[in-house]
């Protein structure tokens, strides 16, 4: 099992002191190597779910198990290290660091794990996404499609067990959407990485065998 959520609850405190529940998930799982699409309306808690799974946001209660390791009860610093080594993240807005070249952005992805960053591996990953000729280009010198490919290479840098993709094709032109998607799927398949991909796009969703709607297993919205 790559991901297992059990009785996960997350709420935020409102300025008036009241509590706003966001997530209340009894059980959600992704098997090893499985590729799952998660769809849901805006504000349904998709981003919060990704943040909770990645350990960026702590849960109020419940268990989150990734590749056999329960992370919800970990201290933040251990969770950070776990995220660096076991979870890949692809964002909607790429989130490359502008001061870093493509190669350096990938190396940055390797910098927070205990393994020594490898320039060779970073180059291989950029070659895998077809950017072997753009190693030293900075984000502003690249097209949006190229930037997202760098982001994919960065997400794969530490050989994660789970890849989280938050609307990875939303900001990419139509011509590049399919390329990015195939790249992600192929990379996950080849490297035996489970993937949870959040999207609004039905075009994207229909290409996956398993499509989950957040509101169907998140009791907060089920109640709404």
């Amino acid at each position: 099992m790559s991901l297992l959520l059990e009785n996960v609850k997350k709420s935020y405190r409102e300025p008036d002191g009241s509590t706003l529940p966001i997530l209340d998930i009894e059980r959600f799982e992704i098997k090893d190597k499985e590729q799952v699409v998660l769809i849901g309306e805006s504000g349904s808690g998709k981003s919060t779910l990704l943040n909770v799974i990645s350990g960026i946001t702590a849960v109020d209660s419940g268990k989150i198990t990734i590749a056999g390791t329960e992370i919800a009860s970990m201290a933040e610093v251990v969770r950070d290290r776990f995220r660096a080594e076991r979870i890949g993240f692809v964002f909607q807005t790429f989130n490359l660091l502008p001061a870093f070249s493509a190669l350096e952005n990938v190396l940055l992805g390797m910098s927070f794990s205990r393994k020594k960053p490898s320039r060779e591996r970073a180059k291989e990953l950029l070659a895998l996404v077809g950017l072997e000729h753009r190693l030293n280009h900075h984000p502003k010198q690249m097209s949006v499609g190229e930037q997202q490919r760098v982001a994919v290479a960065r997400a794969l840098a530490n050989q994660p067990r789970l890849l989280l993709a938050d609307e990875p094709t939303a900001n990419v032109d139509i011509a590049n959407q399919q390329t990015i998607l195939e790249l992600l799927r192929d990379a996950c398949t080849q490297n035996q990485i489970a993937m949870l991909l959040v999207t609004h796009s039905q075009e994207v969703a229909k290409q996956f065998e398993r499509v989950e709607t957040l509101t169907e297993f998140n009791k907060v919205h089920a109640r709404v």
Binding site: S47, T48, N51, S54, I56, T57, E76, V77, D80, R81, F82, R83, A84, E85, I87, F89, F91, N95, L97, P98, A99, F100, E104, L107, L108, G109, M110, S111, F112, S113, P117, R154, N158
Partner: protein, 452 residues
């Protein structure tokens, strides 16, 4: 990619702001280095230049003026002592060595101070354990018209062995050039003391320069007044008559110049100061003090301990100026540090997203804290190192100019050991000013920043 590399990348991204902030630190450090180096030079100079003798005996007046004039060759002499006083001092059983100094004129070229003295001066240590060294063919003033010049004089005036030069009477402003010329028979090796900028001439020659001997009658009367004696008018008349006859014979027979060699009577000679070395080792300090107080009781001369005067000068004047300069330059560095704080702190709102991205990629709070702190440290250290280079560059460029204008000898490569703590201090300063921005990074809310 380590913390420092990431911090360096961020500095490069904001290169203009980074450069300006580092430059402000650099300027502060440049000033600090200049102050430290010059202070070190002054310290060394004041502490090393009076070691081969215990006392300076000179006319009554300002003790500090006597020391400054005799040791540092700065300012005018107080007055003069009769030569007889020197010869009597020599006979004092407590005195091991007495070296007369006649200071007054300057060289026509370069305006270097002239010191008339005897060859034994060069046997004294100029700083503890160091003796004067002279060039291979050089000699320490064997002849009447011989001169030994300091290394800086030789360099600046481009003077070589055998060259001859003229003196200007009094200070350079007087413009009266003496006819007599001295010949260079020795060039001293650099000593790092005012001796480097001094021209030593044989005392006999100094007295024989026209106008240096006092008119006989005046000299005899002054000498008698100095020693509290009555002038024997009959004897004086006879002396004046004899002198007039001698002068007539001298002028009709010879030109003024190297070979005239007329001996000046002791009565017409004066010394500006006498360097005195006391006998004995263990009781040297004690006998110096006793000797000093004896002279103090009389009304003819004074004996001053140059070390005391120098330490008074260092404590009360130079020390205070040094403290003030160090405080000022420290403030400049602190202000530069605040500049770094402002620069990094202002950039934090723009960089919140970058920090959130790094956190999302697995960087811990401590890591992003360290990255921001490293940035501050790199800017401070970079500025500091640049400042050190600029500071030493400034000293290198300014050394000959200061030397020419003030007579202070500055080693262009001078290094103050205090500089060694400058970089650790900068690291502490950087850590202080970087702390608040680093805490901002530490507290960044990753989820909300990424969703913005």
């Amino acid at each position: 990619m380590n913390t420092l590399t990431i911090a360096w990348k961020s500095i490069r991204q904001r290169r203009i702001a980074s450069l300006l902030t580092a430059l402000s630190v650099a300027l502060g450090v440049t000033l600090m280095i200049s102050v430290l180096v010059i202070n070190g030079v002054i310290d060394r100079m004041f502490n090393q230049t009076a070691s081969g003798y215990d006392l300076i005996v000179g006319p009554k007046g300002s003790a500090l003026q006597l020391v400054l004039n005799t040791v540092f060759r700065v300012g005018a002499p107080i007055e003069n002592l009769p030569y007889r006083y020197y010869t009597e001092l020599q006979k004092d059983p407590r005195v091991k060595e007495a070296i007369p100094f006649a200071i007054g004129d300057v060289t026509q070229k370069g305006g270097f101070p002239i010191v008339g003295t005897i060859p034994r001066y060069f046997a004294l240590e100029y700083i503890p354990g160091r003796h004067f060294r002279i060039n291979k063919e050089g000699k320490f003033l064997p002849g009447t018209w011989d001169s030994v010049i300091g290394s800086a004089v030789a360099k600046q005036n481009n003077w070589k062995m055998g060259d001859e030069f003229s003196l200007i009477h009094g200070s350079a402003e007087s413009g009266h050039v003496h006819d007599e010329k001295f010949k260079i028979v020795g060039i001293l090796a650099p000593t790092g003391t005012p001796n480097d900028r001094t021209v030593f001439v044989n005392l006999r020659g100094f007295y024989q320069v026209s106008g240096h001997e006092k008119p006989l009658e005046e000299a005899i009367r002054r000498e008698a007044a100095f020693f509290g004696e009555k002038v024997d008018e009959e004897k004086l008349k006879a002396q004046l008559k004899e002198s007039a006859e001698h002068d007539h014979h001298d002028h009709s027979g010879h030109d003024h110049g190297h070979d005239h060699g007329h001996e000046v009577p002791d009565a017409q000679k004066e010394v500006t100061a006498i360097l005195v070395q006391m006998k004995g080792d263990r009781l040297r300090g004690f006998s110096s003090i006793k000797f000093q107080s004896e002279l103090k009781e009389g009304n003819q001369a004074q004996a001053v301990n140059p070390i005391q005067q120098i330490s008074w000068l260092m404590t009360n004047i130079v020390g205070n100026i040094r403290t003030m300069l160090i405080v000022l330059t420290s403030l400049i560095i602190v202000v530069s540090g605040v500049g770094i704080f402002v620069s990094i702190y202002n950039s934090m709102s723009d960089r919140k997203r970058e920090i959130a991205i790094m956190r999302a990629l697995g960087a811990g709070r401590a890591t992003v804290f360290a990255i921001i702190l490293s940035e501050s440290v790199l800017l401070c250290l970079g500025g500091g190192i640049l400042g050190m280079i600029l500071g030493h560059g400034l000293v290198f460029i300014a050394a000959p100019i200061i030397e020419a204008r003030s007579g202070l000898l500055i080693d262009p490569f001078a290094f103050s050991s205090t500089e060694l703590i400058l970089l650790p201090i900068l690291v502490v300063l950087a850590s202080l000013v970087g702390f608040i921005p680093a805490m901002t990074a530490y507290r960044t809310d990753v989820a909300s920043t990424l969703s913005d």
